[in-house]
Amino acid sequence: MTSVRVYIATTDGPAEVQRITEEEPNVKSVICLDGKALALPISPDYEAFVRSPTGILERAYGHPAYRMDVSAAISEGMSWQLGALVAHALLAVGRLAQKNEQASQVVWLTGEVDRDLQILPVEYVREKIRHSGPLLAELKAAKVPVILGVPRRNHDELDTGWLERAGKGVEACRIVPLDSADQILDLLGLAAPCAKGPQAASAHALPFVGQTRPMIGVLLGLVVMGALLSAIAWWGYGLDPPVRGPPAGRAGGPGERKGINQFPVAAIETWAPRGSTCAAVNFGTAEAEVTETALSEHTPITTQGAEQLCGLRYRISNRGGKAEIWIFGARSAKGSSSLNTKILAQARLVDEDESVVLDIRLPRRLQQPLLHRLAIVAVRSPGGGKGQRLNGFITALDGPVRPAEWDRLLAGLQEGSLDVVHLTHELDP
């Protein structure tokens, strides 16, 4: 029987599988470098690839803990999985050529393996082949046949002309496109392991399996993530956790409160004292003067001399009942015909009489009047298509909108029985 040497392709060159040993069942599987007491950072992924219920190797070969020694470091990713699987299959039948043993066949592999033993595409295949040049040349000189197993999609993307010029694709150095691990195991005369396991397998060990989320959820997630990233970049706000404020003296129950009455918003402005600078305030050599202005829903509030502002916060207090609060914001030059809106808080559960504080990063130089638009949307009870409306609103904000469109979208939300407060705060230099 031929013994086979397995190489795992990496962008730093091929890593030979030197040895696989069964370890005590109560230790975790590790990949080590060249017999040293040095577990590679990918070891936890190897453990997950081995051990049931997530891993396939324990199910296939009956042991839960292995140590695999490789000749060179494998730093990240999952493309080592195909090489590891084939090495274990060879080990199971005593055909794995270990370190310093003669091999009559070499397999060079890259690919991610899913629970169904399907081979998923990986990155940098061309670089991996290029960095294996010296090894392949050496094997060619020694007349050792080599199979290069790559995921089919990667194979299709390779330039065949380049491969031929590099001497790959000939009989002694075959490149095999793979859809499934069965194919390479077949080529080596090995039986495929029993791959499909219990449904309990999680996506943790094997990518792209199990969990599927409703498309709308994924889209919403992407929209929200994109918007949040933009928000951090543009607004540079810091969102403080809810802060319990003093109980509000109020006439009726939460149900009676509407608009600004249920979400009073205050602009808290920090100024340098006369004759001093914001730098002096920031470095603690001058005591800041802090002013607090209640913002109104119907009358835009203007801060004059805002060029001298050292800091600005908005405090949104919840005077209604407990609610899931979303806060949207847009900053634009006064008179601008386009708004880039951002999500400043998403689905924050805020109790009654708690506040949410937004720290706003001010522009370094304020040369023209700026408008801050804030929209606070509260979901007090689920159902009634509120979530759908909110999703629609968020999706509609994925890109610049005109001010009139912003107003129209907010009005649409209000009609959808969501509580909406919309405010404008002008900063004049």
Binding site: R19, T21, E22, E23, E24, N26, V27, K28, V30, C32, G35, A37, L38, A39, P41, S43, P44, E47, R67, D69
Partner: protein, 185 residues
Amino acid sequence: MTGTWKAFTQDRRALAEQAFDALSTLDEITAAMRARETGERQVGFGDVYAYVNEPGRPMSTRLREALEADDRLRDDLLRLLAKTAGYRCPRSAAAGTKVLESRHGQGFTIRLRPSRAEPSQVYVVIELLDPAAEAPRSLFIAEQQDGLLKQALPEARGGTVQLLAETESDLIRALRNPRSEVFLR
């Protein structure tokens, strides 16, 4: 406006004398500090704190020398460690000559398991009884005579942290020493 010495009250003379004293002391301390400005910086408690709290921070030569030279600084380090460590395994009560293959502390166990692949190597398996608890990021072993040993820990998986070490390494020797004290933080 100034006055003469004779015109000064007893209070003012005393104030003048003590202010002169303070200013002279300040000048001398400042001169002494300036004289060594080019030298290495002094080791302080901040260095001890950073060493204990930053998993990837090794013990600098300066800190090692300072700990060797200053018993109180070493005591401070151990006290900080004892106070801030999430897990602690005291010295074995029945300390004898026997080496330990496992250590038990409140909420955790450390087991040493030889590698079948490399008999000269040992797995250090740290099992946390509450897998949801915040996982430690550093392992400290304090021995009576020798110094303090620190080992950064890899991420815990399912409540288990695992290391691989040479059997003859200081880490394994110290873990097997029943007179050593183990801290996880």
